[in-house]
Symmetry: C2
Subunit: 205 residues, 2 copies
């Protein structure tokens, strides 16, 4: 940020009175610009095919992590609720209409200023197709999940959490309270992500 978005004066970085951290502040009109984490909301769509629980995954058509598989998710927009955001993203990326059951995982990713929130959702019918941000959309049995081609650690973590509890409805119900546990697992996730970026950089340099 270089200029005030209200009056175009060059902004300064300083800690406003009564605040305890540096912000962009406009010396012309005194506006303080706060920068806050964004919510990425999505679903874990489950299609019950007899005894099999199949999960809907999308192959990303855009960066970051183009060509890798993810759960349908994206940035929550102003004017909507977290559930609305999760279901809208599922419709946009996979043309799938799901019925959200409950918040399932919430994982903070502080080094990129995001909070990832996944709702457990029913996919009543196996009806879906690629949205503009997906190359491919498909249902996966647990044994076929492409673990080495999952786009983001928070998606892998959410999938593992589901498969660990899928046959225990009460446990699934309680899973939302695993938020803390996941939050504490953050350091490990960050470490994995750093390693992956390092390794990706080595491959491209």
């Amino acid at each position: 940020m270089k200029f005030c978005s209200h009056c175009a004066t060059p902004v300064e970085v300083k800690t406003p009175e009564g605040d305890n951290r540096p912000r962009f502040v406009c010396p012309g009109c005194d506006t303080i610009f706060y920068q806050n984490p964004r919510i990425v909301a999505g679903t874990l769509p489950v299609y019950r095919n007899g005894d099999l629980h199949q999960i809907l995954l999308c192959k990303r058509a855009i960066e970051p992590r183009k060509g890798y598989w993810t759960l349908p998710a994206g940035f929550m927009e102003n004017g909507e609720s977290t559930v609305q955001a999760a279901e809208r993203e599922t419709l946009e990326e996979a043309n799938a209409r799901v019925i959200s059951q409950s918040a399932f995982t919430m994982i903070s990713v502080p080094h990129i200023n995001q909070v990832h929130l996944f709702y457990l959702a029913d996919l009543p019918e196996p009806e879906f197709s690629s949205g503009s941000e997906s190359l491919e959309v498909a249902l996966f049995d647990e044994k076929d999940i492409p673990w080495k081609e999952i786009a983001f650690p928070t998606v892998a973590r959410t999938l593992k959490h589901y498969f660990a509890n899928q046959h225990d409805p009460q446990e699934l119900q309680r899973c939302a309270s695993s938020v803390i546990e996941l939050d504490q697992a953050l350091k490990k996730l960050e470490e994995e992500e750093k390693q992956r970026y390092k390794s990706a950089n080595r491959q491209t340099s």
Copy 2:
């Protein structure tokens, strides 16, 4: 938003290619400015005084709702997790060190582009004092909660949810999965809030 914060060119409002809603876009440097909801994170600090469960509330020293009681909470900052934000706000507003147990309520407030997230937390010792944003901080038994002076509907809702389940640890544990229920209760909350604003405007005009 009137000017690009990168190059000071006046911004335009248009729907970028591949997008489906209007954004502020800079015709000079092509930057798209997304605006997203912010997370308000806080705690519901419980001090167990024998059989009594007492709740820590703060009387607000700042607008909005100055002079009304709230749970300690505030905007999540970049670089922190949701739990860190909730505990930091509790320390700043009430000088209280709490131990978070689990995410307890998450309530979207779309008409002000916020998501309110409260962690259930233990206050191990009755040690607290007013931070700079609080006029007063105090422990309340259920029967003494100042229901008519609670600052925000999401705080009232979180308190009611706690008292309805306080004597059932298993139910408390399951409460995080009430996210959906609370989300669906949104319309009612919004209606209450609108009525309150209307009534406040009548009083001041």
